[in-house]
Symmetry: C2
Amino acid sequence: MKIVVDAMGGDNAPDLIVKGCILARDEYNVGVILSGKEQEIKKILESNTTNYKNIDILNADEIITNEDKPVLALRRKKNSSLVKALNAVKNNDADAIVSAGSTGALLSGGLLVIGRIEGIERPALAPLIPSMKGGFSMLIDSGANVDCKSNFLYDFAIMADIYMKKVMNISSPRIALANIGAEKGKGNKLTIETYELLEKSVLPINFCGNIEAREILRGEADIIVCDGFVGNMILKTLEGTVKEIMSGLKEELTSSFVSKVGGALIKPSLRNFKNKFDYSEHGGAPLLGVKAPVIKAHGSSDEIAIKNAIRQAKVFCDSRVNNLIEESIMRR
Amino acid sequence: MKIVVDAMGGDNAPDLIVKGCILARDEYNVGVILSGKEQEIKKILESNTTNYKNIDILNADEIITNEDKPVLALRRKKNSSLVKALNAVKNNDADAIVSAGSTGALLSGGLLVIGRIEGIERPALAPLIPSMKGGFSMLIDSGANVDCKSNFLYDFAIMADIYMKKVMNISSPRIALANIGAEKGKGNKLTIETYELLEKSVLPINFCGNIEAREILRGEADIIVCDGFVGNMILKTLEGTVKEIMSGLKEELTSSFVSKVGGALIKPSLRNFKNKFDYSEHGGAPLLGVKAPVIKAHGSSDEIAIKNAIRQAKVFCDSRVNNLIEESIMRR
């Protein structure tokens, strides 16, 4: 199996991306193709390993940045690390792709270069949100589709169900619909219609009804279904709140001598606590519904996050998630 | 001026509601009508004050709870504290209403009993979200309208603009549109259309473009405009995250002897920090767009929160917000 990694994407590219690839190659015995500036990548490889087995370089001189318009960039920057990586998957030179670069470009590339699974109208981005009790909930869609119909949301649930079963080993994932109230009949037109579809599904899914946004962190659902606009709002509100609280707390803890002493004593506890929100442990967000595994790693990914995203891509391939999605969609 | 308060609504009703009314009467020299079970209210009054000036009781034997279906309850529970309070406003026996009870029933009551301001299609609920830098941002709509058109959102912005100017004394409120990206052109159909309306407004508003959910707590906008479904998701995600982090932190801080000592030392800092998220200081969420001031106090309101909600209702009346809304809507 070969996994192509966009070596130039992300805040820590290419250094920590390349290091993460070396770690993954060593730990999971997987072939890695590094897409990006050959000379730069070689230098990093040389100073971190003497073993080049299972590591290939796909030279690409251009870089797609977060400032580029996704679709335009895909068309104009044919020599970018991302486009070359996407083409490697398309041409079966690689089985899956991992990138910590522009989310928009990766989503568009997944759709336009790799292509949709037959029967899936809209692929969806599905990050895993940490729960306070441990474990994760999948939030699908978190931004790939901003205007959705109820049948899109139904397909999101089906795809996430298979992923959580096969990749995360949850035997009967609890599926909930993000909504403004718990009772059936609550919500906007989209969620009311989606509720009906999920409730009457012919596929054997474990639909548990609506979930309010207040409950999301509590881990009471394994899969949270919503349209991409709403998913983006949930995800970004959550991330922003955690970030602001943590930095506000830090400020408060250095405001007096006593609180500084107290702060020093609770440092290990605080670190434990912060780790609960650590995204790097489980890899990245899969784009579900395209023909090959596409993993969006967090922009701030370090080598451990990249290593884990590669592991995730490998399990995604090994577990035949996409074949199962194809089969389920035909029966729905 | 007389403000009617639903004495039976909220987690701490009627005890702390009545106490809050006494505080407000004493501090703001405002007339208060307590709607609810007369005997119960009298008892609480008697054990808390000897001065009954400016306090009236409107006897009501029924209570609308959070479990009641709002519209049905309004129709069937004519003798409820809420319906009687709403009617007092409708009949000009009171100038404004405050309730910490069922949000749905208060919203429906505002709309159906008190009625819309001419020209306003959809009244909106607009809580104030604390910013980490101090101050507040108004989130409008946070749940009154789950399916919105762009002209509704435009009116939300106009109403909030007047409120923030007149009640919160912000001279030129920065208005932002909640969206999945900062650039113009980002978003779903609704936000793209709303952006155009806000940008081309004939009324002199300070529209600052899109705001991502990640930035909301940072206080970079005074008014955040969105549809009620999205607003509910933002508000509830924020509340849930704060709550889960605080209780998770508490657990972590009692996990070892050292962290317990540290936790004791930082207790005052932690309290300071928690106060930043305290809703009670600024009262409640106004329902903007109805003919008389309607203030939804938080369900968990204590006497201070109720006192502040009454002050807010008073300023709302004094500052002629509704007349200004009416005038602006005619010119938009």
